[in-house]
Symmetry: C2
Subunit: 180 residues, 2 copies
Amino acid sequence: MDTKERILRAAMQAFSEKGFNGVSVDEIAKRAGVKKALIYYYFPSKDKIFKEVWDRSLSELEKHLFDEIENEKSYMKKLKGFLKAYIDFVTNRKVISEVINKERASVMSEDKWTDLKERYEGFLSKIASLIDEGKRYNAIYEDIDPMAAANLISGSMVHSEKPGILEKVISVIMRGILKG
Amino acid sequence: MDTKERILRAAMQAFSEKGFNGVSVDEIAKRAGVKKALIYYYFPSKDKIFKEVWDRSLSELEKHLFDEIENEKSYMKKLKGFLKAYIDFVTNRKVISEVINKERASVMSEDKWTDLKERYEGFLSKIASLIDEGKRYNAIYEDIDPMAAANLISGSMVHSEKPGILEKVISVIMRGILKG
DNA sequence: ATTTTTACTTACCGGTTGGTAAATTCTAAT
DNA sequence: ATTAGAATTTACCAACCGGTAAGTAAAAAT
């Protein structure tokens, strides 16, 4: 693994534990086993490190969610596979999930993170498209707002100490959007 | 308004905009129009300021949500009144809502905030009780996990720029938990 | 009028912050 | 072997961080 990658992973781990403002560049350096100045050789600023962590996190999440269901013909299996994959990701890829979860509110409201906000909204739009597709198959209630459902799904996917609670949350959402 | 109150409100406003780690004690002082040392006359530490902001925020939210519905006999009106009051609070008391929303993930996962985590879980329990009550009135699906529903409701109550989206999110949740 | 208590300010502390310039070491091509 | 460029370290900066000690002004109690 090359140096830039080590720095990026150390940053991701640190941000997931303490959030962006709770982590110093020096701490990232120590976790990566490099000197702080070397971080500024690979990245122009702390903000840009976070931007790369954020983009990568969402891309990995998208890949995990959409790659496996892309060849599924049955919409019902597709949607359920999607939600199952989401639970699986939050459970087994805690670092990435926590990065998103810890900084989502700041990303969505602070002006300095406009780019990251748009990246997150793009992710939400993909979920919204999946919901919208369900209307054509008569599987999703017609009056559902796809973007609202996407927000609800993504916003409720937070890791919890008690196991099984995520499945129960999802079952509520499924009953809320799925016919029958 | 006395000085301690001014400090507390300045802190609340600042935390809601930038989160706990994004705000310095000096910034709180400047917003409150006092010197930093005076803050340490009224509060022992920055952590304790936030604890007071957090406790107050949840108490005000609880008051707003439960006070108005306490005399409602019909469970259906009660639950709908509760959700309507929640939307109203998030829409009109943005400062408090954003404090909770921005720091929820950190409070729930970082060891230093054990007290605040318990305070938030107490709040969730009250919502869970309301859900559980609905089962006795045959209004809520029996297989619903009240704590999961409480998490879903509270976690989805985030302010959005687009108006009306909160109502749509809640309508999904209602269909997910309410019979008929 | 004097003392005591409360409210508030000034001035500072050691440590950390994000970030930079310059020097050094390593690597690969010539 | 020399050189050039990439990778990494050392040393530093001004600004800021949370927090404190000592003093002053105002108000309340005696």
